[in-house]
């Protein structure tokens, strides 16, 4: 079953708004796309459209939060993390304000709009900022749970959501919690760590690997910062082979974070499935996943390299 994490986000905002009158929401002229329009319709007095002005939106969100509000600010990942990076760094994160930045259309999922709209650097840009927590859910169920938890955790967050629909991975919501990676499949031969859309591709690849006699663990690392260091280090040393799959630049994403972690004890060999130092191009989401080798086939092939 597939559903839209963006829809889940919008509906969750409305739900939060019903019980908490200190939730405020901002957008930068993309509320219909980010689904904050659902909150705008339900609570018009607590919604502010800042127009096409991302830097203004981010700093205004910080200002509103000083009055005791938990403020969600949304637009496309490219414009939020790129255009307003310094406002995010120097105001929201440095001042440690209660602002949740929820970006949609992240990665290459904005598809045909092309490279100018595709954020494949957003996790790197956000992870490097102190105080900022970085979350990339893989489906609607985990989006709902993680957004709700963030709403009750003071301080800055960055969420990245895809444009399209995502397959439901997590049937149950109770184990989903910020900072806790989730084991989706146990296998002793290698471990695949993934976030966002690549979690599903990793599960498909693990099925194929199993047919070849290779049992892979698959872990959903929805929280890239703070990283679930204990669990990741444990699976790295247990299996000795780690593949990180992410729909992001190979530089500065989950792969970099895990490499930094396990380089300390050199507990595992690593492979990366990510976008290697190039800009995006136009195409459908499916075409682009295949063009940039962000698919089950590539994960499968790169995994086999461990065993040659």
């Amino acid at each position: 079953m597939f559903s839209s994490p963006r829809d889940a986000y919008g509906k969750t905002l409305v739900e939060l708004g019903k019980t908490n009158n200190k939730i405020a929401v901002l957008d930068a002229d993309l509320s219909k796309s980010t689904k904050t329009a659902l909150f705008a319709a339900a609570f018009p007095e607590r919604f502010f459209d800042m127009g096409v002005a991302e830097a203004d939106m981010v700093n205004t969100a910080a200002g509103i939060s000083t009055c005791g509000f938990t403020v969600f600010a949304s637009t496309f990942a490219m414009f939020l993390t790129g255009r307003a990076w310094e406002q995010i760094r120097n105001t929201v994160a440095y001042g440690n304000f209660d602002v949740k930045l929820v970006a949609t259309h992240a990665g290459i999922t904005v598809g045909p709009d092309g490279s100018s709209h595709q954020a494949i650097e957003d996790i790197a840009l956000m992870s490097v900022i102190p105080n900022m927590r970085v979350v990339s859910p893989c489906d609607s169920t985990s989006t709902v749970e993680l957004i709700k938890e963030a709403a009750n955790s003071p301080g800055p967050f960055y969420f990245r959501l895809p444009r399209g629909k995502a397959p439901e991975i997590h049937k149950e919501s109770e184990n989903v919690s910020i900072g806790k990676a989730l084991i989706l499949r146990e296998g002793a031969d290698m471990t695949i760590f993934a976030h966002g859309l690549m979690v599903y591709q990793s599960l498909l690849a693990a099925e194929k690997l199993s047919l070849e006699g290779i049992e892979a663990s698959v872990v959903d690392v929805h929280t890239i910062k703070p990283l679930d260091k204990d669990l990741i280090a444990c699976y790295a040393s247990k299996t000795g082979k780690v593949l990180v799959a992410e729909e992001h630049s190979i530089n500065g994403g989950l792969g970099s974070a895990i490499a930094l972690l396990i380089s300390k004890d050199r507990s595992a060999y690593m492979r990366f499935v990510a976008i290697d130092n190039q800009f995006g191009m136009s195409g459908s989401e499916e075409e682009l996943l295949s063009h940039y080798k962000l698919d089950e086939k590539t994960i499968f092939e790169k995994s086999l390299e461990f065993f040659r």
Partner: protein, 273 residues
């Protein structure tokens, strides 16, 4: 506080500013001296409602120093108001001090937001204004902007927002001292005509002498009476960079340089009159 007392307080705070920067060995005297008369009136002229022993008092008015490099002026008024001890001033910019080179809310009581990276304070202040209106609170927000700073695009995004949202509880004061790091603002990239630009973004605009305490006081008292759902107010305050220390006045070289011992003593003599 009476006008004469405000004037002598400004003079005292000027000496604090010079001493702070001299002891730090770095900092921004020019733009701190140009805004200090305005900030004296805001904090001690019964304009800003605050409780120094309760910096986060929810009913407080808000003050944002968008031109954060004038931090010495902010620290001087905050310590004078009782937010922290006067001795802290002499630790400015030193490792481990609560007084950073530019304002930082988490370390300095009374500082509302981190500022100093130019162009960001007006958006933050406007966010506060929107938040206060959401709370149906009659508190006011005052922001001080530099004239060079308004070359930043983020200022005009905020100006557009505040005009559109009719944030009449917001007052922006532009410290119009005509100098920025590279020289006179009209020779770098003139932001003129400043009043017309704010008017075009649906603000009310008033021009004053930023060193005339009674004019500042009357203007800001009136600002505090304005409808909170009307146009925001821009106060163009004509000032002199380095005001009060004759050899620093209207001199670009004193934007971001600390006085040496001789210059420090000379400045103090001048301020002692």
């Amino acid at each position: 506080m009476e006008i004469e007392s405000l004037k002598s307080l400004s003079c005292k705070l000027r000496k604090d500013i010079i001493r702070m920067i001299y002891l730090a060995g770095s900092g921004h005297p020019g733009g701190s001296l140009s805004v200090i008369d305005i900030m004296t009136v805001i904090f001690f002229g019964d304009i800003l409602r605050y409780r120094a022993d309760q910096p986060k008092w929810p009913q407080r008015d808000r003050f944002v120093l968008s031109k954060g490099h004038a931090a010495p002026a902010l620290y001087a008024v905050l310590s004078e108001a009782g937010f922290f001890p006067k001795e802290d001033l002499w630790t400015l910019r030193k490792l481990g001090s609560t007084l950073h080179g530019h304002p930082f809310n988490l370390d300095t009581p009374g500082v509302e937001a981190p500022t100093g990276s130019l162009g960001q304070g007006l958006s933050i202040a406007h966010g506060m204004a929107l938040g206060l209106k959401l709370l149906k609170q009659d508190s006011r927000v005052f922001a001080i902007l530099g004239d060079g700073e308004i070359e930043e695009g983020n200022i005009w995004e905020a100006a557009m927002s505040a005009g559109f949202y009719k944030s009449g509880n917001l007052t922006a004061i532009i410290d119009y001292n005509h100098l920025q790091i590279d020289g006179y603002i009209h020779s770098v990239k003139s932001p003129e005509p400043i009043p017309d630009k704010f008017k075009a973004f649906l603000w009310d605009v008033i021009e004053i002498d930023g060193h005339d305490h009674s004019m500042i006081l009357n203007t800001l008292k009136n600002a505090s009476q304005r409808a909170i759902d009307g146009p925001p107010l821009a106060v163009i305050a004509h000032t002199v960079k380095g005001k009060g220390v004759s050899f620093m006045e209207d001199c670009v070289d004193w934007h971001g340089v600390a006085p040496n011992k001789e210059q420090y003593e000379k400045a103090m003599d001048l301020l002692n009159g």
